[in-house]
Symmetry: C2
Subunit: 417 residues, 2 copies
């Protein structure tokens, strides 16, 4: 069997460790040049494939590729560009197959969340239908931790560690100041539909911090919430609140609705923290501070979870190994073997079962009052934030790599997106 | 000379390293028990002295005191409670002297910013006037870096490192996403009057990031600002903006004015980032994300600057050494000896020159267009963020200490604040 090329693309919101998966893919491919001649990366994700804007990763040194392991965000660029059904996006899917043919691409590695799992699955179906053989492998990535089957998603452990650490640190600050100043601190975190990231804030409860979580999964009840905040402040003198950007009123309105939507039709959120902080101030008069972590949380490679980095690398490597073993339409997944000591291995999930399924917080991970996490949830979360994996620093700042990202020569006519 | 007790208090907004100064004070005092019998700490700062709510630090183990070096926020509690002139706050000042007498306190260590330097100075004056000998030493602390005479303030280097790192990481994220999604990222940072913290964001320019800074020292000119943002985005496809909470319109209004004021009469700020982000969206249509770092930045001990930790400890230790040498009404300060390699030593400043002087960014540290920092500013900042000093971690989270904070028995009648 002669060597064919691979295509790798990053999709959707980036994470602190998606480049560690890229590193796993490229380093593993480089050990099998008899089977994988070169890895082409899509510049800005799948758009790079559609527009034939391919990056020649063979132009990057081994050192640069190794540095991806500790560099956050998407080294090749990502995009929010959703391919729809095979019928509705026929033109795009067929263009992809044309590009693969033109560049002798036999392996498609798509690194993303639920939407890209769906795209990846469709490409495998189309490749079969059109008789052009491409092995389509989905590499899981999402800070939201909302993919099914896999125990957890690479990217989540690091943002969870960042949010738990930041919640702990800010809570120590509020505790110091509570006598005359701030009594309530509100931290807004990511998580449109699933409260996994917000749940990580609940881990500080074991550090004697009175903390309340507002999950997207639990309808927001203003009266019960204010009463619970007052109770905490009366008992502890202060209270920390971690709110998911996706927290909703019973009628479905987001607390933070801004009215804009992204390319996938998802509402663009932001600003739930000041809404809740002012609500508390109005009801109780407590002084407050609030923070919105936004990109800081998912880009915080300086505080990545070692477990997460290892898993991100492992799913990248496994993706290539599955492809070399002839598998198609699959996703490497994380299987938890035990909690304490934590043990895990990489398994394999069929994409037909991954695509378009969203995994929410199970109700038994949320405390009875809806404002906290249970010990089952803590047992789930703690292994995922284990270990530190600091990047190298130079002149006081992390020494992250920026690749050359040289283009592959075009062979086809331009394509209008 | 028989041993007398010392009083130590934390004042104003806490930092990632104010406890490192506490550690320097207490560890040094413990090496001189012939002169300093015990260190009493004020519970919630100077309020603890006024209300005779003293903490007996001798009840804390050496290990716990050593752990203060890597624990953020104020371990004994802090407060925002400003003593005014000797006449206007006569009752409070006299009460402090009574407390000192009752508990045989001969050393007063006040760890704070400009307001507490002023209080400390007044106590030294009053002690002289009333004939009760107290050596009053101010230990500098402020994330705002706005104290005069000292080259920099302990607390600032760590927040600068955090903001520069976070700006770098989030900028990598935006750069990844800019093709179809976010083009402008706005990060709001602390700094009411002085733009030192915002300036730290400018350090990412040397990492090929198009960054703009909005300083409190430069009047905000909306038209020029929008034009500059458009220019950056047209040239680089994205742009990062770091805005100081104290950024102001030419008429003096804060971009983020919320209308509330703290105990010192300072306007309480927050929310400049969404104001600026929406302004850009309206003028250009660019997609944006914004973050407000708030307490996360000043509590982020996990990313402290090693230089800052060492200096914070050193000024605590020097404060005790100055006191033991018989000095009064002074502040240990940082003297910069050279930039590269960076060298510094602890000097001594008279409080008469420190109190009530605020140090702003010099104009020659701000670029000609007002939106960036100069190489002189970079030369100043870079040494201050040098080195990492990670806290120990346990089960995925930093292992910070919470002290027992046992009370000293009261001897006087209650005092109404």
């Amino acid at each position: 069997m002669s060597a064919r090329n691979a295509f790798y693309a990053q999709s959707g919101g980036v994470t602190a460790v998606i480049n560690a998966s890229a590193c796993g893919v490229i380093e593993t491919a480089r050990r099998h040049t008899d089977r994988i001649a070169n890895v082409y990366a899509g510049r800005y994700g799948i758009i790079g494939a559609l527009t034939e804007d391919l990056i020649d990763t063979s132009q990057e040194s081994d050192e640069s590729i190794a540095a991806l392991r500790y560099t956050p965000a998407g080294a090749f660029g990502s995009c929010r560009y959703k391919l729809k059904s095979l019928e509705a996006s026929k033109r795009e899917y067929e263009r992809l197959i044309e590009i693969f043919k033109a560049h002798d691409i036999g392996y498609f590695f798509y690194n993303g969340g639920g939407d890209s799992a769906d795209t990846c699955y469709k490409i495998s179906q189309l490749s079969e239908k059109l008789g052009y053989p491409v092995q389509a492998i989905h590499i899981p990535k999402t800070v939201d931790n909302d993919l099914p089957i896999t125990d957890n998603c690479p990217g989540f452990g690091s943002v969870a560690k960042y949010i738990a650490t930041s919640t702990l640190e800010a809570s120590f600050d509020v505790r110091s100041m509570s006598k005359t100043s701030t009594k309530v601190f509100v931290l807004e975190v990511m998580g449109r539909h699933a409260g996994w990231i917000a749940a990580a804030g609940g881990l500080v409860e074991d550090h004697a911090i009175p903390v309340m979580i507002l999950f997207p999964e639990i309808e927001f009840d203003q009266e019960r919430f204010i009463a619970a905040v007052k109770d905490k402040v009366e008992r502890f003198d202060f209270c920390t609140i971690v709110i998911s950007e996706g927290a909703k009123y019973p009628d479905g309105r987001f607390l933070a609705e801004q009215g804009t939507r992204d390319a996938f039709g998802h509402a663009q959120l932001g600003g739930a923290a000041p809404v809740v902080a002012n609500m508390i101030k109005d009801a109780t008069g407590y002084k407050f501070h609030w923070a919105v972590a936004d990109y800081l949380q998912r880009a915080a490679r300086h505080l990545a979870s070692k477990t997460d980095v290892e898993q991100a690398y492992a799913v990248g490597r496994a993706g290539v190994e599955f492809a070399l073993a002839g598998h198609n339409a699959v996703m490497p997944m994380i299987k938890r073997l035990s909690n304490d000591p934590y043990a895990w291995e990489v398994g394999e999930a069929p994409l037909s079962e991954v695509a378009n399924v969203e995994k929410f917080m199970p109700r038994e991970f949320i405390s009875a009052d809806g404002f906290g996490i249970t010990s089952a949830c803590k047992e789930y979360l703690i292994p995922l934030i284990q270990g530190e994996d600091y990047p190298p620093f130079e002149r006081g700042l992390p020494k992250y790599v920026t690749l050359k990202n040289l283009p592959v020569a075009r062979k086809l006519a331009p394509f209008e997106l």
